[in-house]
Amino acid sequence: MFDLIIPFLICFPFLMAVILLCCGKSKFGNIVSYFGAVVIMIASVAFFVYKGVSGGFAFGQGMYVNTEIADYVILAGEILIVLVVTFLSFKYKRAWVSLLSILPTAAIIFQEEIAAPEEIEHIYIDKLALLMIILVGVVGSLIIMYAVGYMEGYHNHHKEVQDRRNYFLALLFMFMGAMFGFVTCASLIWLVFFWECTSVCSFLLIGYTRTEEAVNNSFRALWMNLLGGAALVVGIIAFYNYVYPTLSFRTFLMVIPQMTSFLGAVSLLPVFLMAFAALTKSAQLPFSTWLLGAMVAPTPSSTLLHSATMVKAGIYILIRLAPLMAGNVVGTFIAFIGGFTFIAASLMAVSQTDAKKILAMSTISNLGLMTACAGVGTAETTWACIFLLLFHAVSKSLLFQVVGATENSLHSRDVEDFHGLLYMLPKHAMFMFIGITGMFLAPFGMLIAKWSALKGMVDGKHILLILFIVFGSAITSLYWCKWMGKLIAHPHKEKKVKDVTHAGEMISFWVHGLVMILLCVFLPVVSVYYVDSIIAGSDMFNTNGAAIPASTMYILITILMLVFIVPLVLYASGKNDHSTEKLAYMGGINTGKNNGFVDFMGEEKTLMMSNYYFEKMLSIEKLMKPAQVVALVALLIIFSMLGGYSIGGMF
């Protein structure tokens, strides 16, 4: 009975989307959305709990072997997607993009038709899938709740954008449905469908405002993702025809290591193509630009793309592929690209003042770290990868939402304008603080994940990756610290800001913050009882036991909790301590306050302090192209290597 939740989770969002589309412009959409979000959240949590209680955690579970009707629906869906893409690309005079949709879809349909009939499980639930479900379910629903409030404020300010908020919400729902499908399906055909589905949804979301920039960016996102999709299709076809004739994803994962011994590099080609697809989806270099462009859309869509869904789809695939990449050339190159993206994106993040751009660059960079971990493919790094994914999803979602809400109140999302935010919008500043600490600081989990990643890479003797990480993490701290410093700094001007944040948004913040803290506190529990067993799962590493011994873990956590608690104690104890307040030092010419000084004319001037950005050196304009070239070259090298082998192997 509970197993029906899976199709429910996939279909219900689509249903909600349809309802929303029918709502037109009415306010009714808000209620529908809240309802839908709550239902999805409850359903996913319930399913998770049920699985835990029923012992379903122990093993993976496959289902839905016979799915003829569903197959037709999916076929129809695929064709629908092609039609939509073709229509829009002709409409916006980018006809060539439609080829990227038509050809692969035709190929995969053809492949499906000619494939020998086989009995495969179409849905497969294991702990990894469950993790993704709960992540998408909870974070995604919160984002939708947040979106309802946000769009209200957004359309109040942006009169120039046509109000199609129900359409927007519908897209968000569709996206979630596709995500649920993607993480649970075990058929390669379905996988391709859901993949394309997320691509198109994100395309439509990005183009929401229909401005020229939005259209450009949305098409960039579309073609890059479709290219990934095409690679996926080619990979599947290659796998079916040259490696092993099956369309089961699980078989794919299990069979490849065995085939490598006598097929050689040919068997790695599908892995590489799939990983390549993941790179596009996870916005790794050289495909990072689409994620940056995605920011033209209203904040909830960026939140959704950046945190729990879209980009995580790529990582999800990479985690699945991790064991296949361990120690081989594909893994090495994927890890290289990941590591390189980590450091390059961090560098670019340093030069940004736009909060959303910083978040975007940091997303790309963190995804790079995850990609690198997956690419290394040992149990330890995969453990780290999963934790990174978990923490990143939560804190990024929180950060995006807070930034969006702050922007609605402050009318700016420039970090420089966040100067003294703590005194203007204290709650927002606090949540930003939590989000940022979650991203890189003790005691939050990212740090432990990083620790483990480093250890794994040292064990694997990946010197280049180690260098990427040690240099990259130094840079990471730089841009986050800068931001945090801005929040608490003494304000330039005592300005009052009207807080227009909706209750729905606030609830979302609180839940995120709470989840964040709980995750930290229960990190060992999560690790020992959950993540470790993903790693030990049958299609992962089969190694029994944790990647990091629980005892070490507990010590670390104790220390880190101390780190958390002691300042609070100090803060409390320091409250009624005697200390005299002095004016800040300004060479003796402050005008009786800390933010004004006597200027050259003897008049008062406001003291402004900005952070460092190194714009001339590190701007995106300057670094993106060369970084893309490096990554592209790496891709070409591995591609020609594998292609060469494969062609050689075929004849």
Binding site: D414, G587, I589, D599, M601, T606, L607, M608, S610, E615
Partner: protein
């Protein structure tokens, strides 16, 4: 505008003890705009002529600045002497030259120390100032003061340099020459020092001319102007060439000043060699009536004196245009585009004297 910092520099700042204030606009640490503000040290001493007679004014003028105090006293006296047509005895001219160069020596060593201090080289600062103490010893020996000499008067000098003192001076010169070689090695060759000076605050010859720069600041940009070439005091009888550099950056300015340390040593030796016998001062009668423009070379560059007498002991106008005043525009020019970390260094490379700038 968001990425810009607007901050004050000074008036109280340990790198440059003198109070000058700059409004800076920074991008990261790059200076994009600068506005100077002075007046923290303006006394209005030029107006004291109404209350003090022209003989007392010698002591006031000496206190235009405590570093080239001698030069100001000299410039003032020379201008008055021109107006009153006083023929200063030759010995006095030579003695004045020697003291002038001693004060240049101590001033340049002081500058070198402050420069070292500005780029955070503590030990070098101490070294320079330690050497400078030797010069001060000699100055105290001959004049009785360490920084304010008070040996000038209208008509000549008050004190003589005895043969014993001459010997002491020569010994000191040898010592300073030796030590300067050590300093030169570090100032001119050290990587860390170079990284702070080479290419920092470049001013081309054209710019320097267009901005009216003076002294070593201008000479470092290749402008061969040195008022000593006008031959006042005994300079006409000594052998010298202006020292220039074509770099136009802080390194060039440092090179010029170090060259001038050697030059001063050489000039003092020459002057001692040629020191004529004779009176120390001429007799002064009457009051100045008339006007004169005088230009001399202070350690920091050209200083202009303008004096207007009206036949009474109280002058109508006593005006000092000091080198730093001329170099302010140049300073602002080199500051633009420099790093914040260079502010101290650039301020010091013009060898600023705010005290005399504002009088």
């Amino acid at each position: 505008m968001g990425k810009r910092s607007v901050i004050p520099y000074g008036p109280q700042h340990p790198v440059l003890p003198e109070p000058i204030h700059l409004d800076l606009v920074l991008e990261d640490e790059k200076i994009v705009d600068v506005l100077p503000s002075i007046g923290f040290i303006h006394r209005g001493l030029e107006k004291l002529t109404e209350k003090r007679d022209f003989n007392q004014m010698v002591y006031v003028t000496e206190r235009v600045c405590g570093i080239c105090s001698f030069g100001h006293g000299y410039g003032y006296c020379d201008t008055v002497e021109h107006i009153m047509n006083i023929e200063v005895p030759d010995r006095a001219k030579f003695l004045r030259t020697i003291w002038f160069e001693l004060s240049r020596l101590h001033s340049h060593l002081l500058w070198a120390g402050l420069m070292a201090d500005a780029f955070g080289f503590e030990n070098l600062f101490y070294q320079c100032w330690r050497v400078r103490e030797k010069v001060l010893d000699v100055i105290e020996l001959t004049t009785g003061g360490r920084v304010i000499f008070s040996v000038n008067k209208v008509g000549g000098v008050l004190k003589d340099i005895t043969p014993d003192m001459q010997k002491a001076i020569l010994e000191m010169l040898d010592y300073v020459e030796k030590e300067t070689k050590v300093l030169e090695k570090t100032f001119m060759n050290d990587y860390t020092v170079e990284s702070r000076m080479k290419g920092v605050g470049v001013l081309t010859k054209e710019q320097a001319h267009a901005l009216g720069c003076a002294g070593p600041f201008a000479r470092a940009s290749g402008i061969a102007t040195d008022m000593r070439m006008r031959g006042y005091a005994a300079y006409g009888e000594l052998d010298m060439e202006p020292i220039i550099s074509n770099d136009g950056d802080c390194y060039g300015r440092c090179e010029v000043r170090i060259g001038e340390i050697y030059q001063s040593i050489d000039l003092i030796r020459q002057a001692l060699d040629k020191l004529p016998e004779g009176e120390l001062a001429a007799v002064v009668k009457g009051n100045p009536d008339g006007e004169y423009f005088m230009r001399i070379e202070q350690p920091r560059g050209e200083a202009d004196y303008y004096i207007r007498g009206n036949g009474t002991p109280n002058l109508d106008r006593m005006r000092v245009r000091t080198p730093t005043f001329a170099n302010l525009a140049g300073l602002c020019a080199v500051l633009k585009g420099a790093d914040y970390a260079d502010v101290g260094i650039l301020a010091v490379t013009i060898d600023p004297c705010i005290s005399c700038t504002e009088r």
